[in-house]
């Protein structure tokens, strides 16, 4: 009996999970497909680019600076043992462009912008703002969800690129200015090792995928949350947890596809 009950529970959880995926997909389709409103839409997109992207800049820049400095320090202490400290630029750039930039940038983005999106939309739902919009004949999926989704999509790769640049500068400051690695060797090794298409473009593709997944999870959790303060709190937590797991899982998958053969 216990085994049957556990199987039933597993089945129910599986059905519920598939139901959630189905609803989330339908929701995304409804939010994105349809006649775009170019007159008002552009202004709303710019507004959301500010709140989703620009307001995430501080955490991205500061984190990138410290991560770059730590990479410079750790990289130097290891490389110097083999007399290969001139390869520090290569180590920092490849680590950042391929992995740390998109992944850490996305984790930070999920924590700052993703949670804010869920809380904002959840509160709009709880205070019946979305319902009132529907009753005015205005589709909240197109008016509220679509600009936030596109803003997340656009912001994430840009933030990842900024993350990479700032982190490289942080690594340069520690490696070259503080620990005395040769400037020429630092930049020349970096330039010869980093391939624009294989490394930079693949990193950008990763961050586009992460941006899509984070904003999708965030806006869906916001609109799907129970309209209570507890519901908003749980939805916000779910956004951060689901996004983080999705980023790390997808990163492995994308890395295997992009760099698995080399």
């Amino acid at each position: 009996m216990i085994l049957i009950k556990r199987m039933q529970l597993l089945g129910r959880s599986g059905l519920s999970f598939m139901g959630d995926i189905g609803r989330a997909s339908l929701f995304l389709y409804q939010a994105l497909v349809g006649k775009p409103d170019w007159v008002h839409g552009f202004g709303r997109l710019v507004q959301q680019l500010y709140s989703v992207g620009v307001l995430s800049l501080i955490i991205i820049v500061l984190s990138a600076l410290f991560i770059g400095m730590v990479l410079g320090l750790q990289g130097y202490t290891i490389l110097v043992k083999f007399g290969a400290e001139h390869a520090l630029g290569q180590l920092i750039a490849l680590s950042l462009v391929r992995e740390l930039g998109p992944v850490v940038g996305a984790l930070l983005f999920a924590g700052r912008a993703g949670s804010a999106l869920t809380a904002e939309i959840g509160l709009m739902k709880t205070t019946e703002q979305l319902s009132s919009m529907e009753m005015m004949g205005i589709d909240p999926l197109r008016r509220i969800i679509a600009p936030r989704f596109w803003a997340g999509q656009i912001s994430m790769p840009v933030l990842a690129l900024i993350f990479n640049c700032v982190a490289i500068l942080g690594g340069y400051t520690v490696g070259v200015e503080w620990l005395g690695v040769d400037t020429g060797a630092f930049w020349a090794n970096m330039q010869s090792a980093v391939d624009f298409y294989a490394d930079v473009m693949n990193g950008i593709i990763k961050s586009v995928v992460f941006g899509t997944v984070i904003t999708w999870i965030a806006v869906f959790q916001g609109i799907d949350c129970p309209p209570t303060s507890e519901g908003i709190g749980r939805a916000t937590t779910r956004t951060v947890v689901y996004s983080s797991l999705a980023i790390l899982g997808l990163d492995f998958f994308l890395t295997a596809v992009m760099f698995g053969e080399t």
């Binding site: 008002h40 205070t127 019946e128 703002q129 319902s131 009132s132 529907e134 009753m135 005015m136 004949g137 205005i138 589709d139 008016r143």
Partner: protein, 291 residues
């Protein structure tokens, strides 16, 4: 092939018009027939029939949890009934496509219990919101229209305030101005008097009646405030246990002999809705273990 298909189309649309004409009595703005609705296996409505005449104030009353707000959401197409018809201006709301439904809603206004003002917009922008979304009017005309709507609810001077700076009564009046922005033919009020001080309540009571008559709208009020609602409603439906338990003008409803209606209208503590939540026998509960 083309002329034939056109012919078919004309016939179909003509037939559709005929069916619609049959369905709707032109004196009625809303007709609800044999409405059944269930939520999470709980029966909300079973066989409800309600008619809302054009140009009148119709109230739907009933205790908390009787499905009054759900009824408004069914009329507005935010919920789909399990069975039955919901006709608004001849359109069968549950059968409309998404685009048709959003178009139909432009002729409806709804005032939510919380006001539901957009918290990031000030009073002026809240009222201007539907005009900006649905029309291409020049800014000067939008300004004039918004000021006229705000003047109607007595809040022209509060146009710069944010929703967080408004009292509950003021927020509802702003929401009313916003609901009127597109000059709807049907306006629905969800518990407009709940939690209001006597002055705000008096203002809202007067506004609802005056605006209905002046703008020749049709009004549906959902409320459990007996005194205020009976003072402005032309016709009242009392719903409980998923059905209409009484209906009539305020005067006839006050004289209604049905126990349910009397308990609700007089606010009696005991009756068809018992004072005590179902429980086992009191003495058994107290002394059962001693005996």
């Amino acid at each position: 092939m083309k002329p034939n298909s056109n012919k078919g189309k004309t016939f179909d649309s003509g037939f559709q018009n005929l069916k619609t004409a049959e369905k709707l009595n032109s004196n009625n703005m809303v007709e609800i027939r044999d409405l059944h609705f269930t939520r999470n296996s709980r029966v909300i409505f079973e066989g409800v029939n309600i008619t809302v005449p054009r140009g009148k104030v119709t109230a739907v009353m009933g205790p908390s949890g009787s499905g009054k707000t759900t009824l408004l959401r069914l009329i507005g197409g935010q919920l789909i009934p399990d069975r039955g018809t919901v006709l608004v201006e001849g359109q069968e709301i549950p059968e409309l496509s998404r685009d048709q439904l959003y178009r139909a809603r432009r002729q409806m206004g709804m005032l939510f219990q919380s006001g539901a003002l957009f918290s990031d917009l000030n009073v002026f922008e809240n009222v201007a919101f539907p005009l900006r979304e649905h029309t291409q009017l020049p800014e000067s005309m939008i300004r004039d229209l918004v000021l006229m709507k705000l003047q109607a609810v007595g809040l022209r001077g509060a146009r710069e305030l944010m929703p967080s700076e408004l009292s509950g009564g003021m927020a509802r009046r702003v929401a009313l101005a916003r609901a009127l922005a597109m000059d709807p033919s049907l306006i629905m009020f969800d518990e407009p008097f709940a939690g209001q001080d006597p002055i705000s309540m008096g203002v809202l009571v007067q506004l609802i009646r005056l605006l209905n008559d002046a703008l020749k709208m049709t009004t549906i009020i959902v409320s459990h405030d007996v005194q205020e609602t009976t003072s402005i409603a032309d016709y009242i439906y009392v719903i409980a246990d998923g059905r209409v338990v009484g209906s009539g003008t305020p005067e006839t409803l006050m004289q209604d002999g049905a126990a349910w209606v009397q308990q609700f209208m007089q606010g009696l503590p005991d009756g068809p809705v018992p004072f005590h939540y179902p429980a086992q026998d009191y003495s058994n509960d107290l002394w059962g273990d001693v005996v």
